[in-house]
Subunit: 344 residues, 2 copies
């Protein structure tokens, strides 16, 4: 398995990316890497080039570049060259910590969609807290599309199910629709239509509507939603978790000696809490629905997360879930066409 | 000022509602109450009927009743009778902890909208954590409408601004649009249109798009959004805060002696954190855009929150913000018609 890596994307690129790829190379003997970046910057950082081929990419797509335009114009950038390597079969997956919009655009325009899938969905893994038999769930779309049609969300359920089976190893994942109440008739017309379509599909273990309040409690293994609501929900969870930790730390620091003593004794507890909420340990966000895995991690990614994410890509590749999706949508072309028509 | 109260709504009704109303009566000598409920249940609970008139409402709208149908059919219910008292001028505001949908429906169908306002917006106050000059913000709509048009969100900005001025006493409240990025061109067509309309309005102190990640950090004083996204965001914030507290407590309990000792010392810290996150202290959710305040608190409301919420209604009434909104929309009829047309 060969992974094309954008060495130039992210706040700590290229140093932490290169370091992370070397960690992953050492951890996974079955992996090879194509590392795209500015040679004069990347070459001095690479300590050992075993199974890592450095390929010169003179251009860089910056965080503030307009995504689609950058992908169209900067043909010699690490993002465009790495995605092109996947399209041309030189690599099996594409990894980047760079400009999210540009990574999504490169995935869509260069790697390409699976035939039959209208819109790929950005998929994130989030923690489930204190539930003995479930440690995480996936949610999609969390922001690849701002304009989502009901038909797209139904397709997200199929993609999410394959993903949960292959990467989370849940055999019969519970799929829930994010809605503003659990009753079947909740939400606007679009959500009622999605609910009814998912209920009617035998191949989906649909558990009905789920509310954002219950996600961290494990309401479902796969949560499907339009990209706008998914993005707002993901960022609300992130923001609240961070604010709560900051608040608690601030309260301790402004407390008296008792509080500070208590804080010392509670250090391991806070470490566990922080690690439970740190979903970067679950790897990056995957753009599902493309011919090959395209995975994006947070801009602030450092070497250990790069390594974990590569491990996640390795599982994705080993499970052949992209091939399974290709087969599914090839075999269900008529059903999808009927469904699309009925959801118009 | 006279407030019509639904004594029968909520998990702890009528006992905690009656207790809370008595607390409010003792705290605010300028308030009178019309208390609607089943006489045989409520009468024995009422210790002192000074400034509290008990009015018999033989029917009850249950939590599981279908809201609009219940409001139409149960004419002798506490919710319908209390809302009717407001419509007929016998009371100045309506308070309930009951079936949310029924309270919203009674507000809309019985109390009635302010002329010129298309859709009322459910408005909640949430805490801002650790910012010296801002302790809270308001967000609307958090779920009155599942189908929201851009024009409605623009009107929410005006309503929210009046509310922040009159209840939060912020003289020039910063209004933000909840979106999936802060740049002006973020979101779908509808959000770009709302952004442009708000930018063009001199009477709104519009600070642009805000992300749900930054709400608890005080990104704006008033956050406007469609009811579906607002509902998902509110519930994600609630759910994450509760899960974090549970997680931390669970980690402490499963830790050794050191952790438990630390927890003892940290008790005041947790108390502060819990109270900072407990937005019921800020009162109930207000359905803005009606001719008189209609306020709904959480079903689990107990007496102290009833009292706080009555205090909030008192401020709302004293500020005459409903009258100010009536005047604003009466004076801006032409502008609103043009805006509505342009946002179609």
């Amino acid at each position: 398995m060969k992974i094309a890596v954008d060495a130039m994307g992210g706040d700590y690129a290229p140093a932490e990316i290169v370091k992370g790829i070397e960690l992953a190379r050492d951890a996974y003997p079955d992996l090879e890497f194509l590392l795209y970046g500015q040679e004069e910057q990347v070459k001095p950082l690479l300590q050992d080039s075993t199974r890592i081929e450095l390929i010169s990419a003179p251009e860089v797509i910056a965080m503030e570049d307009e995504p689609v335009r950058a992908v169209r114009r900067k043909k010699q950038s690490s993002i465009v060259l790495a995605a092109t390597a996947v399209r041309e079969g030189q690599a099996d997956a594409f990894f980047s910590a760079g400009n999210t919009g540009a990574v999504l655009a490169a995935g869509l325009l260069i790697v390409g969609r699976i035939k039959g899938i209208d819109r790929p969905g950005l998929t994130t893994t989030l923690p489930v807290l204190r539930k003995p038999d479930q440690s995480s769930f996936v949610m999609l779309d969390v922001g690849a599309n701002a304009d989502t049609k009901p038909f797209n969300v139904v397709q997200y359920a199929i993609m999410g199910q394959y993903y949960a089976q292959s990467v989370m190893h849940v055999s019969n994942p519970r799929v829930g629709l994010l809605n503003n109440g659990t009753e079947a008739d909740k939400g606007d017309k679009a959500h009622r239509a999605i609910h009814d379509a998912l209920s009617a599909m035998d191949e989906i273990n649909f558990v009905g509507n789920v509310e954002s309040r219950e996600l961290l409690n494990g309401a479902a293994d796969v949560v499907v939603t339009d990209g706008f609501t998914g993005n707002a929900t993901l960022k609300a969870i992130e923001g609240t978790a961070l604010s709560m930790l900051k608040l608690i730390k601030g309260e301790i620091m402004s407390g008296g000696l008792g509080g500070k003593l208590g804080a010392g004794l509670l250090k391991p507890v806070f470490k566990n809490v922080q690690s439970a909420m740190d979903y970067s340990q679950y790897g990056g966000a995957v753009l599902l629905g493309l011919k090959a895995p395209v995975v994006k991690t947070h801009g602030s990614t450092k070497a250990p997360t790069v390594k974990n994410t590569i491990g996640q890509i390795r599982e994705l590749l080993a499970s052949k879930s992209a091939d399974q999706l290709v087969t599914y949508f090839a075999e269900h072309g008529d059903q999808m066409a009927t469904l699309k028509e009925s959801l118009k």
